[in-house]
C-alpha cells in the first residue's frame, strides 16, 4: 500500500462526500423546480443575491441557512439520545453506499495523453480506480447498508414520543423490510448473468457485452419499484403520509436533524439512480466508446476506429455516467409527480403478491436460460 | 238578505251591505283608500271601482249596495285599467319621497303601485308637480305632509264621526286641496294618533314613531293594551327587544278598530325605566347584585318579620297569572293574611274607549284573590303605625303618592319589590327583583267589563328579569317553604277556573 494509493483514496472520499452533499442540496432545488415545471407552476424564485436569482438556485443557500439557525426542538418526553442518534443512522447508510460505486474505469495519471490499449480496468503505479473501495462483495455491501436504513426510521419514530411518528416508523419498517426482499431478489438475476458480486466487474461485463437492462428487463423494473419503495417516495410515501400522519417518523424533528432526514431521502434518489445505472445501464459505459477510443461497428461496413487519449475517454465515460444517473433521477421525479399514493393494503399486496413472485420467477427463468445456453 | 255573485262566487249578505264589504267577507280584497269599515262612505278615491253586469259604467264598490242577482267582477281588464289610471292620477303630484317617509312598507300607494300600476310617470319634469305644505304639525302627536295626501278624508271622517270632534277639515280645491286643522284648533283630542293610523298613505304620521324604525323591521304580536281597564285589543310592534308602538286590533265587541293616544303610547311601559338586574338598598345605597345574593337578602329580611305582620301587595298592572302566583306564595308560604293592591293612579275617562282606572287588571286581581284587596293607603297607614313590618310587593306604581305615603313605605322593615321598571314602590324597597314587562310574558287581563283576555309573550325578558312564578319559586326555596305551584302550567291551570267568564268574543288571539 503506497502513499499514492492512500492519498488517492482520501482524495476520492473527500471528492465523493462533497459531490454527494452538494448533489443532495442540489436535489432540493431540482425537486422543487422540476415539480413546479411539471405542474405548471413557477416554483422557488424569490431568494436572491442582489439582482441575481439564478433560477431559484439561491434557495439552496437560504434553505441551508434556515435549517442551521432553526431551533432544534426535542419533545419533552422524547428519548434524547435515540432522538439525536436516529437522523445520523438514517443519513449514514446513504452516504456509505457511494463507497463501492464505480463512477468510471481506471484512471492512469501517467498516461492521460496516451491511447490506452490495455482495457478499462488495469493496474499501474499511477493508476487508480474511480471508486473508493473495490471490495469482493460490493453488491452484498450495498444491500446490507441499504438494509440498515430502516433502523434510523424506526428509532426516530420510537424516540419521538408521538403517535404519528410511531405510526410512521411502523409503516416505514414494514414497508422497507417487505421491499428489501424484492430489492435483493431482483439483483440475483444480474448476479447470475454477470457472474460476479464485484460491482466494477459487473460494469465491465456490461461494457464488454451488453447493458443489464437488455438481459434483465424485468429485474430492472422490479429493482426500480422496490428501490422507490425503499426510499419511501411517492407512490410509496406512506411512512410520511401527510394527510394521515402529518409527517410520519420525522415529525418531531427540526433544524439540521430534520435536514439530515430530508437530505438523506433526496440522496437516496441519487443512490437509487446510481445503482440502476451501475446494474442495468452499463455504469460508465458509453456506447461505441472503448478504452482506446471510438469503435463504430456497423454491419456490412468496416469497423471504423478513432483513437482518443486515455484522459478524454475517461472524461467522456464519467460524463456518460452522470447523464445516465441524471436520467434516472429525472425518471423518479416524474414518477413522483405522476402517481398517487398507494393504500396500505395495496402496498403490501404489491410487495408480497406481485413483486416477490415476479422476482423469484425472474431468477428461475434466468437460471434455466443460462443453464440451457451453457 | 241579498244574494249576489262576486267573481263567480255566490254570497248572501244582510240588506244594506256594500259590495266591498261583501267581497271582503269572501276574502276578495278590492283596493281602496277612502273606505273604512268603521267610517261612513265617501267614495272619493275611486280605487274600488268594479264591473257590475248590466251596468254600463264601472261602479265604486264601497258605495254600491249589494242587490239580489248582482254579478260583480273585480278583476277584469277594464277594472285593472281603471285602477292603473287611478294610480297614475294619485301619483301625479306625489313627491315619491319614500326613503324619508315613515309610511313606506305599510303604504297603500306603494302596495297598489306594485300591484296595479308599475309604470314610470309620464310627467317629464319634477318641476311640474304641485308643491304643497310639508311637515305641518297638526298636534302633539301628529304631523302632516300635504304632498303625500291622497285626500281620502278618512282622518276627517274619523274625527267627526268617531271622536265627534270635527277638528280636521278639507281646504282648497282640485289638486291644491289638502287637509287642515280647523282655525284656532290643534289636533289634540285623545284619539289623534288614530288619524295617522287610518291614513292609508304617509300624509299623517305619528310624531312619536317618526324616524324611529322602518316598519318592515317590526314584528307584530297580538296583545292587550295595558293602558287602562278597557282592555282594548292591540298589536305590539317591536324590533330587537324594543317596543315601538301599539296598533289597534279589530274587535267589534270592544274597541272596534280604535285605540286612544295613551294606548298607542303604552308601549313605553316596556321600554322606559326598566329594572334589568336585581338590586339591593334604597336611594344612594342601591347597587345591582346577582340573583343569589338578592334572593338570600330577601329571604333574610322576610324571616325577621313575624307572620302576622307580613303583607302582600298585588298589582292591578300585572296579569292574573302573576297576581295569583304572588297571592298563593304569600298565603301558603309566607302565611300572609293581609292583601293590598296597587296600580297607576286614576285618570280621565270618556264614553268612547278610555276608562278612569288606568290599570288593565283590577278585576283580575279581585278574581285571583277571591276577595276585595285592601287599598294601598291602608298599608301605608299600618306601616306608619307599625302593625305591618314586612311586605312583598308586585308592580312599580304606587296607587298613593306624596311624602306621607313615601315615608310610610320607608317605615317597613322588609319590603321586597318585584317590578319590571322603576317607580315609587321599588324605590322604597330593600330588595328589587326584576320581572318581565307586559310584553315579555304571556298572561290574562280581566277588564272593567269582566272580560278575560289572554295575550301571548312578544319578547324574551330583558336583562336578568325572571318570570314572576319562577322568581317566587326561587324565593320560596331560599325560605325553605313549600309552594302550591311548580311551573307556569300549574299557574295557568290554577288561574283558568278563577277567571270570571270565558274569554270575550274576539278577545283571545
Amino acid at each position: 500500500m503506497n502513499a499514492f494509493f492512500v492519498w488517492m483514496t482520501v482524495a476520492k472520499i473527500v471528492a465523493f462526500v462533497l459531490f454527494i452533499l452538494t448533489g443532495g442540496a442540489l436535489m432540493v432545488w431540482v425537486e422543487r423546480r422540476l415539480s413546479a415545471m411539471m405542474q405548471d407552476r413557477v416554483g422557488p424564485h424569490r431568494a436572491n443575491l442582489g439582482r441575481f436569482r439564478l433560477w431559484g438556485l439561491i434557495h439552496i443557500l437560504a434553505d441551508g441557512l434556515k435549517m442551521m439557525v432553526k431551533e432544534d426542538f426535542i419533545p419533552r418526553r422524547a428519548d434524547r439520545l435515540l432522538h439525536a442518534l436516529a437522523p445520523i443512522l438514517a443519513f449514514f447508510p446513504v452516504v456509505v453506499t457511494f463507497a463501492v460505486v464505480p463512477f468510471g474505469p481506471t484512471l492512469d495519471f501517467a498516461h492521460l495523453g496516451a491511447v490506452n490499449h490495455e482495457g478499462p480496468l488495469f493496474s499501474g503505479p499511477w493508476a487508480t480506480t474511480l471508486q473508493v473501495a473495490t471490495i469482493d462483495v460490493g453488491l452484498l455491501f450495498v444491500l446490507a447498508i441499504a438494509g440498515t436504513g430502516v433502523v434510523g426510521a424506526v428509532l426516530a419514530g420510537a424516540a419521538s414520543d408521538n403517535r404519528f411518528s410511531l405510526l410512521g416508523s411502523l409503516r416505514a419498517a414494514s414497508q422497507m423490510i417487505s421491499y428489501e426482499v424484492t430489492l435483493g431478489a431482483s439483483l440475483v438475476g444480474c448476479i447470475l448473468v454477470f457472474g460476479t458480486l464485484r460491482i466494477e466487474q459487473m460494469v465491465l461485463w456490461q461494457h464488454q457485452h451488453v447493458w443489464g437492462i437488455l438481459v434483465q428487463p424485468l429485474a430492472f423494473l422490479l429493482f426500480l419499484v422496490a428501490g422507490i419503495a425503499e426510499s419511501k417516495r411517492v407512490p410509496f410515501d406512506l411512512p410520511e403520509g401527510e394527510s394521515e400522519i402529518v409527517a410520519g417518523y420525522f415529525l418531531e424533528y427540526s433544524g439540521m436533524k430534520f435536514a439530515m432526514f430530508f437530505l438523506g431521502e433526496l440522496m437516496e434518489i441519487v443512490v437509487l439512480a446510481i445503482l440502476l445505472t451501475v446494474f442495468f445501464l452499463g455504469g460508465w459505459d458509453v456506447p461505441f466508446l472503448f478504452a482506446d477510443g471510438l469503435h463504430v461497428d456497423l454491419p456490412f461496413l468496416d469497423t471504423w476506429v478513432w483513437n482518443w487519449p486515455h484522459g478524454v475517454v475517461v472524461l467522456v465515460q464519467l460524463l456518460g455516467f452522470t447523464v445516465k444517473v441524471g436520467a434516472m433521477v429525472f425518471l423518479q421525479m416524474a414518477l413522483r409527480w405522476t402517481l398517487p399514493r398507494f393504500r396500505y393494503d395495496q402496498l403490501m399486496d404489491l410487495g408480497w403478491k406481485v413483486l416477490l413472485p415476479l422476482s423469484l420467477g425472474n431468477i428461475a427463468v434466468t437460471a434455466v436460460v443460462l443453464a440451457a445456453l451453457r | 238578505m241579498r244574494k249576489l255573485t262576486i267573481d263567480g262566487r255566490e254570497i248572501e249578505v244582510a240588506e244594506g251591505t256594500t259590495v266591498i264589504a261583501a267581497a271582503r267577507a269572501l276574502g276578495i280584497d278590492i283596493p281602496h283608500f277612502c273606505w273604512h269599515p268603521e267610517l261612513s262612505v265617501a267614495a272619493n278615491c275611486r280605487m274600488c271601482l268594479v264591473e257590475v253586469e248590466k251596468q254600463p259604467k264601472l261602479q265604486p264598490s264601497c258605495q254600491l249596495e249589494a242587490a239580489d242577482g248582482m254579478v260583480v267582477h273585480t278583476d277584469t281588464p277594464k277594472v285593472r285599467e281603471a285602477r292603473r289610471a287611478m294610480m297614475e292620477y294619485l301619483l301625479l303630484n306625489h313627491p315619491v319621497d319614500c326613503p324619508i317617509c315613515d309610511q313606506a312598507g305599510e303604504c297603500k300607494l306603494q302596495d297598489y303601485y306594485m300591484l296595479y300600476d308599475l309604470k314610470a310617470s309620464r310627467l317629464w319634469s319634477e318641476e311640474g308637480k304641485v308643491r304643497k305644505r310639508k311637515r305641518a304639525i297638526f298636534g302633539p302627536h301628529v304631523i302632516y305632509d300635504a304632498e303625500r295626501c291622497v285626500m281620502c278624508t278618512r282622518c276627517v271622517r274619523f274625527c267627526a264621526e268617531v271622536v265627534r270632534d270635527p277638528v280636521l277639515i278639507e281646504v282648497h280645491r282640485g289638486d291644491h286641496s289638502e287637509i287642515a286643522v280647523a282655525p284656532g284648533r290643534t289636533l289634540d283630542h285623545a284619539y289623534s294618533l288614530m288619524t295617522a293610523h287610518v291614513c292609508p298613505v304617509g300624509a299623517l304620521t305619528s310624531r312619536d314613531f317618526r324616524f324611529q324604525c322602518r316598519v318592515w323591521f317590526l314584528a307584530s304580536t297580538p296583545t292587550i293594551c295595558p293602558g287602562c281597564a278597557t282592555g282594548c285589543n292591540a298589536f305590539l310592534d317591536h324590533h330587537r327587544g324594543e317596543a315601538f308602538r301599539l296598533r289597534p286590533r279589530e274587535n267589534p265587541a270592544l274597541n272596534r278598530s280604535w285605540l286612544c293616544d295613551d294606548g298607542v303610547l303604552a308601549f313605553r311601559l316596556h321600554n322606559d325605566h326598566r329594572l334589568t338586574a336585581p338590586e339591593l338598598g334604597r336611594g344612594d345605597d342601591a347597587r345591582p347584585v346577582a340573583w343569589d345574593e338578592a334572593l338570600a337578602e330577601a329571604a333574610t329580611l322576610l324571616r325577621k318579620v313575624p307572620k302576622t305582620q307580613r303583607a302582600a301587595v298585588l298589582s292591578a298592572e300585572h296579569s292574573c297569572e302573576e297576581n295569583w302566583a304572588l297571592a298563593a306564595f304569600a298565603r301558603e308560604a309566607l302565611g300572609v293574611e293581609r292583601f293590598f293592591v296597587t296600580g297607576r293612579t286614576a285618570g280621565t275617562a270618556d264614553d268612547l274607549l278610555r276608562h278612569a282606572d288606568k290599570n288593565p287588571n283590577r278585576a283580575g286581581v279581585r278574581s285571583m284573590l277571591g276577595a276585595e284587596p285592601e287599598p294601598l293607603e291602608r298599608l301605608v297607614d299600618e306601616a306608619t303605625a307599625g302593625s305591618i313590618r314586612g311586605a312583598v310587593a308586585l308592580g312599580a306604581a304606587a296607587a298613593t303618592q306624596g311624602p306621607a305615603a313615601a315615608a310610610g313605605l320607608l317605615r317597613l322593615e322588609a319590603l321586597v319589590s318585584i317590578a319590571p321598571r322603576r317607580g315609587p314602590l321599588p324605590e322604597a324597597a330593600h330588595v328589587r327583583l326584576p320581572s318581565p314587562s307586559f310584553a315579555e310574558t304571556a298572561g290574562t287581563y280581566v277588564n272593567a267589563r269582566g272580560q278575560a283576555q289572554e295575550f301571548p309573550q312578544a319578547m324574551s325578558p330583558r336583562g336578568e328579569a325572571l318570570e314572576v312564578p319562577d322568581l317566587l319559586a326561587r324565593l320560596a326555596r331560599r325560605l325553605d317553604l313549600g309552594l302550591p305551584f311548580r311551573s307556569a302550567a300549574d299557574v295557568r291551570a290554577a288561574v283558568a277556573p278563577r277567571l270570571p267568564r270565558p274569554a270575550a268574543e274576539g278577545g283571545a288571539p
Binding site: 411539471m38 405542474q39 405548471d40 416524474a334 402517481l339 | 315619491v96 324616524f211
Partner: protein, 176 residues
C-alpha cells in the same frame, strides 16, 4: 340499505399498471417540456411586481356621497340596512331642525356605521340605495388595523372617502 360497490372494470393492460404509468408519465413530461422549452402554461402572477388590473366594476370600500354643501346624500331610509345580508350596517335616523337649510329633506343619518369586517362586499346596499348615497367605487380595500373596532367605519369617515377619481359628490340622478 346495503348495496354493492361496483369496482371499475379494468382489463389486463390497465391492471398491469406499467403501461398506464408510462401514459401518466407522458402527461407529466409533456407539461414539463412545454414549460421548460416552449410556451409556458403557468398562470401565476408574480404579485408585487405584476398586478392584475381591477375590473371597472370592482366593489371596494364603501363611501357615503355628499351633497354640494357637504351634507350626506343619505336620507336614512335604511334600505341598505335592510338589504345587507351580513347585517353590517347600522343607522340611526334624525330630523333636520326646521331652520336648517336642508330642512326640506327632513331626514338624515345621525349615525351611520358599517362594520367592514362583517361586510361581504356583495354590493346589495348600493343596489338598494334609492338616493345614490352609498357607493363602493372607491377601489380601496379595508386597511389593516390593530383592533377590530377600527374597522367599524363611522359616518364622517365614510363621507370623507372619495371615488377613484377623487370625487366625493354625486348628483342625484332623479332630482337635485
Amino acid at each position: 340499505m346495503p348495496y354493492v360497490v361496483r369496482r371499475p372494470d379494468r382489463n389486463l393492460w390497465e391492471q398491469s399498471y406499467v403501461p398506464e404509468t408510462v401514459r401518466g408519465l407522458g402527461v407529466t413530461l409533456r407539461h414539463f417540456f412545454r414549460n421548460v422549452f416552449g410556451r409556458r402554461d403557468t398562470v401565476t402572477l408574480l404579485y408585487p411586481e405584476q398586478r392584475r388590473p381591477y375590473p371597472p366594476r370592482f366593489r371596494g370600500l364603501h363611501r357615503l356621497t355628499q351633497r354640494d354643501d357637504g351634507a350626506p346624500r343619505c336620507t336614512a331610509c335604511l334600505c341598505c340596512q335592510t338589504a345587507c345580508p351580513a347585517e353590517c350596517i347600522h343607522i340611526v335616523a334624525g330630523e333636520y331642525p326646521p331652520e336648517h337649510p336642508l330642512a326640506h329633506v327632513e331626514k338624515y343619518p345621525v349615525e351611520f356605521w358599517i362594520d367592514e369586517l362583517r361586510c361581504v362586499s356583495c354590493g346589495l346596499c348600493v343596489e338598494a340605495c334609492p338616493c345614490d348615497a352609498i357607493r363602493m367605487d372607491t377601489g380601496l380595500h379595508p386597511r389593516p388595523v390593530e383592533a377590530r373596532p377600527h374597522l367599524i367605519y363611522e359616518r364622517n369617515l365614510l363621507l370623507s372617502i372619495s371615488d377613484t377619481a377623487g370625487n366625493v359628490h354625486t348628483a342625484n340622478p332623479r332630482k337635485k
